[in-house]
């Protein structure tokens, strides 16, 4: 058989059951991505004789004698196919993992398909962009701008990796092959709670190609937390790499290491595990009750009350809420539930480990290689200098990769065997074992005077941390921001993070603020209706204003400051936008139309220790090398860092070479989460660039004898009074004296600023079917000083789209035994192109940030007001309040019927 790929013949033979995607990747075509492995996401799209197909569900042998075209064959850097150029110039991507598939699909479109993109693109999922940018790309709308020297900030310059992304050359975690690489697959627990009585490895070890079968007895007996923070003490040490007790369906039991994935899978199937099944508990309130099954012992003093499965309890107040409620004219109380939802980044978790010169190397899909390194050093008792952790481009994160859940097993097997080891999550593993958002039940009680002034504000939060406590504590503290947004002399916050026999919850965009925002913003809407006050007006009367303290959990010194009334401006902008479209026609007589709004406020960096270091060096080729630990996974920090450096150094982005996310090549960086990639690391970049600029200018001043204040950078020259000195001349002169223009600077996540936003929706609800259609979506956000307008817009659009998925379409179904029944994209429906409305993005240009150049990170806060704004619009349209997410048609229709008997036709 002969396989013709991109015009080149291959004589390799695929395995009988191999899919075309794996075969093409094995031949070196790594642009063909594995997203879902089931034909649902389209990231693996290639052409067979010119027709686009999903290569993961195409038997490899079917390509025999036919011509295969992959993204690499469509065009190359410098010689782009027109569709690749359009995706670069729109820009039509963020993380870039879906991009090859998007391009290989779009490049085949007929005019009719271009006119119906929702249908034409239904087989291509993007989790980052919200699809507007992809629509622009397909239609040839360009957003990328060029930048003059020193003027990069504020321009929509393209991502440094843009051409590599659109040509499939950008390397993601799994896009490599190492000689002798072994593969690891894991046998997962079928029980929600069980003790492992025995493990019989013999049949598994007899499988040809199986090298090792690991059990809990083979791993270091060290407890740790998989959660990533600089200070590991903010999370409990309650997890082992492998344990003799399993606490959720899907927990690792036996990793099998083999020459091939197939042999490792067979080894898993042949391993015999005897369990003693223990009683399980899935709901936090039941887990807290007397006599409930106890999940954990009391080994870690962090755990507040192991007998009642309480990881952490918070009870704080200011003022006197009882007095505040006594003073109120109207009191509203409601209990609101936000369910478990999944990040669904298109690149699954995965790590590849190997030994090189006696050092462990780990290539991984993480939001923080620096902290992953710290954890691996601890787990395996390695000196930090014997270990390197790095990331190539990462295919989406959204908080899911703020967790060390794949690196440890790859490292274990490599340290044991000395061989390269690959451990890649399947899509099902993502749903059943990776850390989703914490389900939270919040009871909000609000008291207000007749004029709307809040007199009492009480929140009770019961959070389900799942089987382990990673992020369980910090997300509980984060809930305070939903309390902080409103001024009130009497506040009370009681919160519980509770262990249950469910998949461990973790970090997800919005981090513990999204669920309280749903509760508080829904409650504020209900209060407004009870008071007969416009919901936006009620917010105006109560939001924190410059000069007010930001009081959430306690009234004490803090490091957060704001001095501008940005939230009020956001509210005004949304009100204006909704008013402009108030006469939008209803889709028809069967549809009920309503509007809803919600606001949120978010600190621009995490409250825990956050550190980043940047190095800037002017190289002999007059390119500035910028080294910073921040990972790029679509959040756009690489572009922003380059822009900041180019701006400070008076040059263009083309003369900044970025080195990133590699513990051997960059300084420490806590990680890209909690909006810190811009706010903290950006400050490190700014300071390092400033330091190098100052060294160059000082040298130039001495060199020319012109006073420093008369010297300035101008791309490849330094202006010194009337003279222009080429940088090359200064570098040569400095080198001769043994001087290099280089500097390192650190930045910390303190002091902090706040950002805020308001979301508005007008929706139509079908009175019979319960279907929701979004007629208008608008978000106003305090974007402060914008580094890259296209990226800011993209982050907000993507966050709103993800929020719409969490609120309207995504549903994590778990059966009575704690087993997830829909662990795939076919049945866990993240939004497709057709599901996402275009969102009008309106920006408030505040100047009160202490971030780099007074900027604020925009990737996170945007998601928080989406669900409550939808629920409030749903109430406005139907008169029915929904206090539980998701707002799916089958949940809506029945309550509409309860409210109003709707005839389905004459005679009924």
């Amino acid at each position: 058989m002969t396989y013709l790929v991109n015009g080149r013949s291959f004589h390799e033979e695929p395995e009988p059951g191999q899919c075309l995607r794996t075969f093409l990747r094995a031949l070196g075509h790594h642009g063909v991505k594995k997203g879902c492995d089931a034909g649902d996401c389209g990231a693996c799209t290639v052409w067979l004789d010119g027709d686009p197909v999903h290569s993961c569900i195409t038997p490899a042998f079917r390509a025999d004698g036919r011509e295969v075209t992959t993204i690499e064959g469509l065009g190359s850097p410098g010689d782009l196919h027109p569709m690749q150029r359009r995706f670069r110039d729109a820009p039509g991507f963020q993380c870039g993992f879906c991009t090859a598939g998007m391009i290989m699909t779009s490049a085949t479109f007929t005019d009719a398909q271009k006119a119906d993109l929702p249908r034409a693109l239904k087989g291509n999922l993007c989790r980052c962009t919200g699809y507007r940018a992809i629509e622009d790309a397909v239609n040839g709308v360009a957003g990328v701008e060029s930048a003059a020297p020193g003027k990069a900030v504020g321009r929509s310059v393209g991502a440094p990796a843009a051409e590599d992304v659109v040509t499939g050359r950008a390397e993601f975690t799994m896009d490599t092959r190492l000689d002798g690489m072994l593969h690891l697959k894991v046998l997962h627990s079928p029980h929600a709670h069980a003790r492992i009585v025995s493990i019989d490895k013999s049949a598994a070890l007899a499988v040809p190609g199986v090298r090792r079968v690991y059990t809990w007895q083979d791993v270091p007996r060290r407890r740790f937390t998989t959660a990533i923070h600089t200070d590991h003490l903010v999370d409990p040490d309650d997890t082992r790499i492998l344990d003799d007790t399993v606490r959720f369906v899907g927990q690792r039991v036996v990793p099998v290491l083999a020459d091939t994935v197939g042999a490792a899978e067979e080894g898993c199937r042949r391993t015999v595990v005897e369990y003693e099944v223990l009683p399980a508990v899935f709901e936090p309130l039941e887990a807290m009750a007397e006599g409930a099954p106890q999940l954990h012992g009391s080994d870690d003093p962090f755990v507040r009350d192991p007998v009642h499965n309480i990881l952490l309890e918070l009870h704080t107040h200011i003022g006197d809420v009882d007095a505040g409620f006594a003073e109120a004219d109207v009191i509203h109380e409601g209990t609101y539930f936000s369910p478990r939802v999944q990040h669904a980044h298109l690149e699954t978790h995965g790590s590849i480990a190997w030994m090189e010169n006696g050092r462990l190397n780990v290539r991984t899909s993480s939001q923080s290689p620096s902290i992953a390194k710290v954890k691996l050093a601890y787990l395996f008792a390695l000196r930090p200098d014997r270990l390197r952790v790095f990331c190539k481009r990462v295919g989406g994160g959204f908080g899911g990769k703020q967790e060390v859940i794949s690196e440890d097993l790859a490292a274990l097997a490599t340290l044991d065997t000395g061989r390269p080891v690959c451990f890649e999550y399947t899509r099902e593993d993502e749903f059943t074992t990776a850390s989703p958002r914490h389900p939270m039940t919040l009871t909000v009680r609000l008291g207000a005077k007749a004029d709307g002034t809040l007199t009492a504000f009480q929140v009770r939060n019961v959070s389900n941390t799942g089987a382990y406590g990673n992020h369980g504590g910090e997300t509980l503290y984060a809930g305070g921001s939903a309390v902080m947004i409103y001024r009130c002399p009497n506040k009370r916050y009681d919160a519980f993070s509770v262990y249950t026999n469910t998949v461990p919850s973790g970090a997800l965009r919005g981090y513990g603020m999204t669920q309280p925002a749903f509760a508080v913003e829904s409650a504020m809407d209900e209060l407004a209706r009870a008071l007969h006050i416009d919901p936006l007006e009620l917010r105006r009367r109560n939001i924190v204003r410059p000069g007010d303290p930001l009081v959430a959990l306690h009234d004490g010194p803090d490091d957060v400051a704001f001095s501008e009334d940005s939230l009020a401006k956001c509210i005004d902008l949304v009100e204006g936008a909704l008013a402009r479209t108030a006469d939008q026609p209803s889709p028809g007589p069967e549809w009920l139309v309503g509007t809803g709004v919600a606001s949120s406020l978010h600190e621009t960096a995490p409250p825990t220790e956050h550190v980043s270091e940047a190095w800037v060096t002017l190289r002999d080729d007059l390119v500035y090398e910028l080294a910073v630990g921040t990972v790029e996974f679509g959040e756009g920090t690489s572009t922003a860092h380059v822009q900041i450096a180019a701006g400070q150094l008076g040059t263009t982005p083309a003369r900044i070479h970025l080195v990133q996310s590699d513990t051997d090549r960059t300084g420490f960086d806590t990680g890209a989460f909690a909006s810190a990639g811009l706010f903290v690391s950006g400050n490190a970049v700014l300071r390092a660039a400033d330091a190098v600029r100052d060294r160059i200018l000082e040298y130039a001043a001495t060199y020319t004898g012109v006073h420093l204040v008369l010297c300035s950078m101008d791309d490849e020259e330094v202006v010194c009074g009337d003279r222009r000195v080429p940088l090359a001349e200064l570098v040569a002169s400095a080198r001769a004296r043994g001087i290099r223009f280089t500097a390192a600077r650190k930045a910390y996540g303190t002091p902090r600023s706040v950002t805020s936003n308001t979301q508005g929706f007008r929706i139509a609800v079908h009175r019979v079917t319960g279907e929701i259609r979004v007629l208008h979506s608008v978000q106003a956000a305090d974007a402060a000083v914008v580094i890259n307008p296209a990226q800011v817009r993209g982050q907000v659009e993507g966050g709103v789209a993800q929020g719409i998925g969490f609120a309207l379409t995504e549903n994590h179904h778990v059966d009575d035994d704690g087993v997830m029944v829909n662990p795939n994209f076919r049945n866990y429906r993240i939004p497709t192109f057709a599901d996402v409305p275009r969102t009008e993005v309106l920006l408030v240009a505040s100047t009160d940030s202490v971030g780099p150049l007074r900027s604020k990170g925009m990737a996170e806060c945007c998601i928080n007001p989406v669900a409550p704004a939808l629920a409030n619009a749903l109430h406005d349209a139907t008169g029915v309040r929904f206090r539980s997410l998701p707002l799916t048609p089958e949940r809506i229709y029945s309550r509409l019927i309860e409210k109003q008997s709707v005839p389905t036709g004459p005679g009924s």
Partner: protein, 273 residues
């Protein structure tokens, strides 16, 4: 995904491949479902597309669809003008959750044999009163009514080794008036309910096919035009356990939607008579 337990592909099966059937075999058509899920019990795939069955044969008697006819070919088919139900063929394709790319390989027979409640090729062929030609491993053949083929979620009447060879749609069904309604929880998603009503021009009959919301296709046949009450009673007579529960819908919502859309179809098809 890679099906790592597969050790052999039969790429050139005999004209009657059933005789070669053995335990651990699966018939491979487009492969778009087979390769989308783990198949740990399978060892060998037999490629039916190598037999080059005629995809579509239209005649005065009706339409014969070879089981390996791709969705793409069916979608591209232009029915004769007097087959006024002909546009249903394309609507059935559009009811697939999968995109046009998958249609390049996925087959009509594969969708039917997968026997999911939401399989639109089942909806289509039941509504158009098709019969299926089946080939048994011993060389014998049988014909079953499309309505009788699917027996439950992921279940059908095929015996091990039996093959769906072709679908035959009678011309008289294609000459009927047709109306359809479909609901999905997400836009362009998988069907929560998919209903098709047909009516012979010049008569009072009404044939209503209810699928996706039920674990197997349900047909309601009326010789004369039913009133809303009669129709509603027919729907309410469907046994409770036939309404399907899965992530694409709840039984209660599906029954509710079926009542609503069935009434819309009734009114559309009885209008102007």
């Amino acid at each position: 995904m890679d099906l790592n337990t597969i050790t052999e592909i039969v790429r050139r099966p005999s004209g009657r491949p059933g005789t070669e059937w053995r335990e651990g075999d699966a018939w491979l058509a487009g492969g778009t479902w087979l390769f989308s899920a783990e198949q740990p019990d399978l060892r060998r795939l037999v490629d039916l597309t190598a037999l080059h069955w005629d995809p579509l044969v239209a005649s005065d008697a009706g339409l014969e669809i070879g089981a390996t006819c791709t969705i793409r070919d069916l979608y591209a088919f232009t029915p004769p003008g007097d087959w006024i139900a002909g546009p249903l063929l394309a609507r059935g394709c559009e009811a697939l959750l999968s995109s046009f790319k998958v249609w390049n390989a996925a087959t009509v027979g594969g969708n039917i044999c997968l026997s999911l409640p939401a399989g639109p090729m089942i909806t289509l062929t039941v509504a158009l009163e098709a019969r299926y030609d089946l080939w048994a491993p011993d060389g014998s053949t049988r014909v079953v009514d499309a309505l009788e083929f699917v027996t439950g979620d992921h279940r059908n009447v095929l015996a091990p080794g039996e093959i769906l060879r072709r679908v035959v749609i009678p011309a008289r069904a294609l000459r009927k008036r047709a109306a359809h309604r479909r609901f999905t929880l997400t836009r362009l998603g998988r069907s929560t309910v998919f209903l098709i009503g047909t009516r012979t021009p010049g008569t009072d009959d009404l044939l209503l096919t209810v699928t996706a919301g039920t674990t197997r296709p349900v047909r309601m046949a009326f010789d004369g035009p039913p009133d809303a009450r009669t129709l509603r009673q027919s729907i309410d007579a469907v046994p409770a356990d036939v309404w399907f529960a899965d992530p694409n819908g709840t039984p209660g919502h599906r029954r509710h939607l079926t009542r609503h859309f069935a009434e819309e179809i009734r009114r559309e098809l009885t209008a102007g008579t």
